[in-house]
């Protein structure tokens, strides 16, 4: 397809990025999705909406987040100069809040009284519960039972924030199943409920809308790197489950041909075993309202994803990523569970920062990449979240090492 002069104008009117995206939902939801799209178009051009969002970003979330030069990590790897975009310093501990703020303001505009969301690692659930509390709206979070077990602290946080957390036992009890259940709730409670989707997936306009709310990451990065280095970065790296933190970082740079971008998928136990790498190990299909790459069988049945990180444990990926992969604008790689743990340890050791396991996938790729690049090569890694929530998982995996210390 023709990309004209910009890669930043998608999706088209029907919600397609190339052949990916769309609005593959039941008729019951169609009118709502069209309403949402209309309201979002209005909000986009409403200075008051942007002003309200700006105040919340600054005073409630603590933006802008720093662009931090990881000096010791850079030195240890002996190659490219590494900057971290500190989304882990946001209120609630990850980039997820950027999107939730935007969507809750839309929900208010639309007069909705009840908020629902799906969550994997719980970071989106916590961010949603947070904004719902902030605006005094009822909040229901769907979370897979497997994830509830491995992300207990986040479950407690959501409850403290007043949300009802509903365990989802169907399927493997992970993010995909939570999303099915949230969609079932939505189709039942169409009139009063706003569904805050947590990533750049789902039916149009969600992929575009979530991306736009997350693009603050890339916009700040652009300004900050110009201040610090006087030029654009050479490489951007971010982890990808559904892909919202990556889309947020990448999007403002898509038209800058000199900027190389790398999305890091969860390779789980390896691409020949259980994993969550939809682009590297999946095929195009239709799920949760959009056409994208999916882990699926020959018969079109969705397969279970696996990752050490609950936030990347999803068998699909946002449609804009599927398109950027197909036109080869962004390079997509995968990192295994074991490698992610190495990334995790490295950041703890060299920078005194405990990263989320999701972000550790991006860091693990840096461990491989940075040493191969010259010292004047600038990399920005999106440190999408902090690792407090992952203590249980990490201590289980690193029990022996920790015992030796």
């Amino acid at each position: 397809m023709s990309t004209e002069n910009t890669l930043r104008q998608g999706p088209d009117e029907s919600g397609f990025f190339g052949r990916f995206g769309g609005r593959f939902v039941a008729e019951t939801l169609m009118p709502l999705i069209l309403d949402l799209q209309e309201e979002y178009e209005k909000a986009k051009h409403d200075p008051e909406f942007h002003a309200a969002l700006e105040v919340l970003r600054k005073d409630f979330v603590g933006r802008e987040t720093p662009l931090y030069l990881a000096e010791r990590l850079t030195e240890a790897l002996g190659g490219a100069k590494i900057y971290l975009k500190r989304e882990d310093l946001n209120h609630t501990g990850a980039h997820k809040i950027n999107n939730c703020l935007g969507q809750i303001l839309l929900a208010k505009r639309m007069g909705k009284k009840r908020i629902i969301a799906e969550t994997g690692a719980g970071m989106h659930g916590v961010a949603t519960a947070t904004v719902a509390a902030r605006f005094g709206l009822e909040c229901v979070i769907y979370m897979g039972s497997t994830d509830i077990h491995r992300q207990q602290p986040n479950v407690q946080r959501m409850k403290l924030l007043g949300a009802e957390v509903i365990p989802v036992t169907s399927g493997t009890g992970t993010l995909k199943d939570a999303m099915n259940e949230a969609l079932r709730d939505w189709v039942t409670n169409v009139h009063d409920t706003f569904y805050i989707i947590g990533t750049v997936a789902g039916p149009h306009p969600y992929p575009a809308l979530v991306r736009d709310f997350q693009a603050v990451i890339g916009e700040e990065t652009r300004r900050q790197i110009m201040e610090k280095e006087g030029r654009l970065p050479d490489t951007l790296v971010a982890c990808i489950g559904g892909g919202s933190n990556a889309m947020g970082l990448f999007h403002p740079f898509l038209d800058d041909k000199s900027v190389h971008m790398i999305g890091v998928e969860a390779g789980g136990e390896g691409l020949d075993k259980r994993h969550a790498a939809s682009l590297k190990g999946g095929e195009p299909g239709v799920l949760h309202g959009n056409r994208t790459f999916l882990l699926q069988s020959e018969d079109g049945q969705i397969q279970d994803a696996h990752s050490i990180s609950a936030g990347l444990d999803y068998p699909g990926i946002g449609p804009e990523h599927a398109w950027l992969h197909e036109i080869e604008r962004v390079e997509y790689v995968s990192i295994t569970d074991q490698e992610a743990l190495e990334g995790f340890k490295a950041l703890c050791k060299y920078e005194g920062i405990i990263p989320a396991l999701e972000s550790s996938h991006a860091l693990a790729h840096i461990l491989k990449l940075a040493p191969t690049l010259p010292k004047d090569h600038i990399i920005v890694v999106n440190l999408s979240g902090r690792g407090d929530k992952d203590m249980t998982t990490v201590t289980e995996h690193l029990a022996d090492e920790l015992a030796e210390q």
Binding site: G22, R23, F24, E27, T28, M30, R184, V190, V286, Q301
Partner: protein, 275 residues
């Protein structure tokens, strides 16, 4: 619109029922639930038990518009190894003994997309599939499957819902054929239906805009409910209540008997609906 082609099996069936002044009993089961052999037995028994139109579910791992009963049916079918080939094979076997009962395949788009739309439609038409209901293909995506299906001689049956307002209705009706499936409540399959009076109002509003038969589904579980809805609807769809017979059965054979026995009761009820 002048239509010179021969009436389809679906159209003949609805025309005949109109003559009889009674609604169609439309039954739903999931192909391969609880396993291929027993599901096939159930399917083959449905016409004689009184099903006028058969909906056969194509199992999918992620049935987002379905409630617990049909979710379980999908899981049982997939666990027993059901796939698209086997589902089409069931239709072929049905057609060897029954050439009059319209059969509609119902499900989600991904298994069809993965199978290949062209190949799927060719084989479905060949085996005697009369219509398709694909939950996650709204009119906005007619080019994906709806229009190719019409070209292949397979009806594309659309869902209209309580949220389908006057603005959307023409788009929903456009390219719909066979019958229109009115989903009586917002929610997933198996959820409770609103009052018959409310449903009747909605159905009559739609009827003012179309000549095609209107089937009503979601929340119809008993012969009494079927008879009540059948007073004004051209078809009454029963799904979750039949699937529950399989859910509750202690053996697969008992499940088949349960489905067929409830079908007989429903069939008797729709025959008295307008008397």
């Amino acid at each position: 619109m002048t239509d010179t082609r021969q009436a389809s099996r679906m159209e003949r069936r609805f025309a005949a029922l109109k003559q009889e002044n009674r609604p169609a009993l439309i039954t739903f089961i999931t192909a391969g639930d609880p396993d291929y052999a027993n599901s096939l037995d159930t399917l083959l028994g449905l016409p004689e038990a009184g099903a006028d139109v058969i909906e056969l579910g194509m199992p999918f791992t992620d049935p987002m518009a379905d409630g617990p009963a049909i979710q379980l049916a999908n899981q049982r079918a997939l666990a027993s190894g059901q796939d698209m080939l086997k589902t089409l094979q069931m239709v072929r076997i049905l057609r060897e003994q029954d050439q009059d009962t319209p059969l509609v395949l119902m499900g989600y788009y991904n298994p069809i997309y993965r199978y290949g739309v062209k190949r799927f439609l060719e084989e479905a038409a060949e085996e005697g599939v009369d219509g398709l209901i694909v939950v996650d293909l709204p009119p906005e995506h007619d080019n994906e499957l709806c229009i190719p299906a019409r070209e292949a001689g397979v009806h594309f049956i659309r869902l209209a819902t309580p949220t389908t307002d006057a603005k959307r209705l023409p788009g929903v009706l456009n390219n719909t054929s066979g019958f229109l499936y009115y989903v009586s409540s917002t929610g997933v399959t198996g959820s409770a239906a609103p009052t018959p009076e409310k449903v009747q109002q909605e159905v009559e509003a739609i009827r003012a805009n179309t000549d095609i038969p209107i089937g009503v589904g979601f929340g119809i579980r008993t012969p009494e409910q079927a008879a009540r809805i059948g007073q004004f609807a051209d078809g009454v769809v029963v799904g979750s209540a039949l699937i529950d017979c399989i859910n509750k059965a202690s053996t697969p054979e008992e499940g088949t008997q349960g489905v067929l026995s409830l079908t007989r009761e429903l069939a008797a009820a729709v025959r008295t609906a307008r008397k």
